[in-house]
Each structure stands twice: as structure tokens, then as C-alpha cells.
Subunit: 213 residues, 2 copies
């Protein structure tokens, strides 16, 4: 599949390599293509680089892997015309580091970044997922407890969630919990402070939670 990934940080780099290794045609969208030159030249990286708009136009499915506080601007630069009708996999977190550590959330409670994006781009099928784990766990879930842990899906479009679930399974995800519509994105975004405190406590990002019954 042709996949566009918006953002140039570690999450974007990890996921784009993983998706390319799985046979997808990946284009990373960034404000400044030059800053990825060295990374793209390094051995094994088989992804294209473009502007936000060109990467969004390239993708049959598009990932939002930008920093949460810059996501709206990045998506506006990508342009609704290039996203319309497509599945937008929103893996971002609205973390605000402007007051130091630990970060606060810039949107929360009854609202969420996932919901804001869905409101701003009604013709896009937003699916929130993967934001509850670090980049390594997103792309290689078997690195943690042989994959015995959960990832969540939130979104209004059932078919879009099924398509995203297939991508997640190809990464190695075994347990995928469909939380419901995009309202439930607030749940996985507001989980981040607990994730951050666990990360500080465990001294590793290689962890995740499992729902036990």
C-alpha cells in the first residue's frame, strides 16, 4: 500500500522503516526535507521524502506522527484535499513540554487531539491508535512480553478501524481492543501521564499494559 507518514521524529522514522520493510511504498512528509537527508542515505532506509502535502497526496493511508502540539498545523499544511476520504492513523499525543518535565496535555477531559482532528477534517477517517506505547513497541510489539499486551483503536469508521487493525497485526500486535468512536480517544490520550510516570519508574520505554479479567 502507498503510505504517507507526517512527521520526521523518531516515531515517524521507526514506523516508516517498519512499513517499508513490510513492503509498503512509504513517503515521509516533513516541513524541512533537508534534515532527513542523512537518515535517508543511511543503509536500509527505503522511503521517499516530501512536503506534508506531497506525502499526504502519496498515501492511500496517512499516519499523523507529528508532535501533538504541531499536529493541526502539519495537517493544515498537508491539506484536506490530499487527505479527504482517506484513513488517517493518528498516533500523536498532545504533550506540552513548554513548562518542562513532566509535560502537561494541551487538550484533555471531554476533548482530545484525535477528536479535534476529526472535527477539523470531517471527510477524513481518523483512527486513533498506538499513542499509548513508544515507537519501538508500536512497530515491534513482540519485543514486550512476546506481544502479550493490548493496543487500542478509537474511531467513527468501522471499516477504517479494520484496515488499521490489519496494519497493526502485520507489525505483530496480537491483542487489539476497539474502544469505540473517536470520543474514546480522550481515554488513550489522558492515559499518557500514567505512561510517563511508569516510564520514569521502570526506566525503560519497552513496556505496555494488558487488560486483565
Amino acid at each position: 500500500m502507498k503510505i504517507g507518514i507526517l512527521g520526521s521524529g523518531m516515531v515517524s522514522q521507526t514506523l516508516s522503516v517498519r512499513l517499508a520493510d513490510l513492503g509498503h511504498e512509504v513517503m515521509v512528509g516533513t516541513r524541512d526535507p533537508n534534515k532527513l537527508t542523512d537518515w535517508v542515505r543511511s543503509a536500509g532506509v527505503k522511503v521517499k521524502i516530501g512536503s506534508f502535502a506531497v506525502a499526504a497526496a502519496h498515501g492511500e493511508m496517512v499516519f499523523n506522527a507529528t508532535a501533538g502540539t504541531g499536529s493541526m498545523q502539519a495537517l493544515n499544511m498537508a491539506g484536506e484535499v490530499n487527505l479527504s476520504g482517506k484513513v488517517l492513523v493518528d498516533i500523536s499525543n498532545p504533550l506540552d513540554f513548554s513548562n518542562g518535565m513532566p509535560p502537561s496535555l494541551s487538550v484533555y477531559n471531554t476533548d482530545s487531539l484525535g477528536k479535534q482532528i476529526q472535527r477539523a477534517f470531517p471527510s477524513v477517517k481518523v483512527v486513533k491508535t498506538l499513542n499509548t506505547v513508544n515507537a519501538n513497541v508500536m512497530a515491534y510489539p513482540r519485543k514486550v512480553a512476546d506481544g502479550d499486551h493490548d493496543v487500542f483503536l478509537s474511531g467513527n469508521d468501522v471499516k477504517a478501524k479494520a484496515q488499521v487493525a490489519e496494519i497493526l497485526k502485520s507489525f505483530g500486535w496480537l491483542h487489539i481492543i476497539d474502544l469505540g468512536d473517536i470520543l474514546t480517544a480522550r481515554g488513550v490520550e489522558m492515559y499518557l501521564p500514567l505512561w510517563l510516570h511508569l516510564w520514569g519508574n521502570l526506566q525503560t520505554g519497552l513496556f505496555n499494559i494488558k487488560v486483565m479479567r
Copy 2:
């Protein structure tokens, strides 16, 4: 141990019966003792009833099991003089149901109800715990996955957390994660929206999360 439990709802009732069964001298504190008359008369309930102030004075350890939006008022009625120097186990959640379901949080992000209580009552040793599971799981953790799941502790006083951990172990808790100081209470309180969406999804409150590595 003499234990005071503030609040008269299901959480208070479940925990007070559990603690009494474990041999503690329990007094439930409530605004309106009359509304608990039938419950206390029912078979097997061996707890005393008093005002918030009398129950707080009774306890060597005090539980805050009031509804989160009423906790500050209840604790003020209990009185700092009756709480001073004691361990206050804060199991409340700042859930605001005034706009219907799902509830929002009345305090969040860089602050939390646990932290607010610690600020308002600096001479009290606040330990946030148990708020991430329902009353049944709090008191009888082995009902879920034979106890193979996690409960969290947040608080500034290491000795107070150790005392609370002993109570949790007596309930049957096997895995207790000390997240750090009272700042980390924001993590367990902001987890509630995810808990609520999981509850809606699983159609049971008999679940919890386990941190997998």
C-alpha cells in the same frame, strides 16, 4: 487497627466490610448516619457509624471514599485536627457527572485531587491508591485473573506508603507499583477516562490492567 472510612457509597461499604472481616475496628463517617441504618442492621456488617469528624478521630488510618467532587468538603468537615499526622488513603476520583455520561474530571493535567488534598492538609500523609479499579476489585483483587494485575501508590511519605501496601496485601493484592510522590496521582486519576471506556467495552467492572515488560 482502628480505621475511619469517610463516605457512605458502595466503595465505602465494600471496603469497610472487608476491613472489618480482616479484624480491624472500622467506623464509617457520613453526613447522614440515618441513611446507613438498614445497611448496618443487615447480617454480617460489623462497623460503627459516625459523623465525618468522629470517624476521622476514630481512625489511626483514614480512608477517603467520598465522591471526588465532594471530597474537599467532607475532609473539611472531618477536620484537620482529627486527621493530622495520620495516613489518609485517598481512593476517590474527581469525576463530574453534572453534564451526564461519560463524566469529565473536575481536576486534571498538572494537578489532581490527591495533590489538592495534600496541599490543603499538609500535616496529613496522603497516599493515593485503589482509584483505578472498582470497589469489588479494590477489596477482593483475586476475583480478577487470580490477582495477576497491578495497583499503584502515590504519596510523599515512604513509610505511609509501606503501611498502605500492607493493607493492600491483606486484601490479596500481589503487585503494587510505587509510582512516586503525590504528583503522580495525576497519572492514576487521568487514567479514569480510559477505565470508563474499557468498562463500557467489557460490560463489567471486574477488570484491571497489568504492566507488561
